[in-house]
Amino acid sequence: MLKTRLIPVLYIKNGLIVRSEGFSYHQNIGNIINEAKRYNDWDVDELIYIDISREKYYDIRRDDHKIKSYSSITEIIERISKVCFMPLTFGGGIKTIDDIDLRIRNGADKVSINTQAFENPGLIREAALKYGNQCVVVSIDYKIIENVPVVFTHFGQQNTNMTLWEWAERCEDAGAGELLINSIDRDGKANGFDTDTIKKLSEESKLPIVACGGAGDPYDFVDVAQETRVSGIAAGNIFHFTERSYPRVKELMKKNKINVR
């Protein structure tokens, strides 16, 4: 049967890999291609790249870490797809079908749309019709407000006043192939996943759910896999900063009889 996926998320800002905390603090941590090669060595199931550059310029000057940055998202996607042979999702700043065409043409298997999906759900449908539902991931950032997960857009700044449950259902109707849900509260805190929300959504939605936000130690992944019907578990910081973290998480999941690759 299908295996539960373990997916590193990499945030790109102005051509470099950064770490994220609470959606606001970003620290440069690496060269995109070197990081991609590292994940390749770990034999990862899939990779998600989210471009969080606000200015949409890519810093081609050498910075003090002497890390090479890249000049455009297309160059980045193209280079990554020459060295990575597993499914690749690219998200961040996608506004039109042309933005989607560009990414798919250059090597993305799936695209992830967040704010724009909310402002224009027609884009979900258009992309699904053109490339197939399986190519369209809707990424949803949420905060718990009075016990209810509420959707936020614009880098987690704007409260939409819509619940996660309602938005998820609308995404399903619009033709999304997968939902990537991100807990803003837990992002970067390393205190564990929001298993209650993940459990409820994975049981109610017909779409595969990939959950992100809060991974602090390998047991967090075991907990999510055991307590919810999540299709994939994603994490950013833990895979960047902890030695051999990805293989260790996989080993622990296998030890706990979780169906992983």
């Binding site: 042979f85 043409r105 399986q134």
Partner: protein, 203 residues
């Protein structure tokens, strides 16, 4: 030299990247005239069966490929939709005729599997026959990456080289003489996937 057939529907880039990575000489073939430059054919495919066959016929590839494979015995590997196109017919959005290089039909998961999401998408294991040439040097029950809503059913047991379970046990790879097919995407299946291409290249 492997010729990757470009008929307007397929993840040519990913396939070429994979072949380049394993240093298997390849070229993208956009016209039938270019087929004489290659000694193996790779038929990729993402999308609908009907449109794929229409394109293959319109570009002259359907006839040219059948001729090369049947008369000149050029090895062919069909990947994902490409594997389905090798068969006689498919019921995807109507009834469409395929290349007929393997006896059998393409069916829909919707008709036989209930309660499971469609498409079948993600990593799943393949149980392959010990002698399967595409799986040489690959360990038992390798996980491969699948994305498909339709599956193949070859008439002859002997043509089936690998099976996978998703509600039902379906045929995930075929091998009939010099005709090969895999339902999964080797170019998205990490090291084991790359080995599939290496093995095809070394035939």
């Amino acid at each position: 030299m492997i010729g990757i057939v470009n008929y307007g529907m397929g993840n040519l880039g990913s396939v070429k990247n994979a072949l380049d990575f394993i240093e298997a000489p390849s070229r993208i073939i956009s016209e039938t005239a270019e087929l004489k430059m290659v000694d193996k054919i790779l038929l990729p495919g993402v999308g609908a069966f009907g449109m794929a066959m229409e394109n293959l016929h319109r570009l002259g590839f359907a006839e040219a490929i059948k001729d090369l494979v049947l008369n000149t015995k050029v090895p062919i590997l069909g990947v994902c939709l490409g594997m389905q196109l090798l068969f006689e017919s498919s019921i995807e959005h109507g009834c469409h005729e395929g290349l007929g290089l393997i006896k059998g039909k393409v069916n829909s998961f919707k008709d036989v599997v209930s309660g499971l999401p469609i498409p079948h998408m993600g990593w799943n294991s393949v149980e392959f026959n010990p002698g399967a040439r595409l799986f040489k040097s690959i360990g038992p029950s390798p996980n491969m990456y699948f994305v498909h809503s339709y599956f193949c059913k070859a008439d002859a047991e002997n043509d089936v080289s690998g099976t996978t379970e998703y509600g039902i046990r379906f045929q995930s790879s075929v091998e009939s003489g010099h005709i090969f097919g895999c339902q999964f995407h080797p170019e998205k299946s990490q090291k084991d996937g790359l080995m599939i291409y290496k093995n095809f290249n070394s035939l």
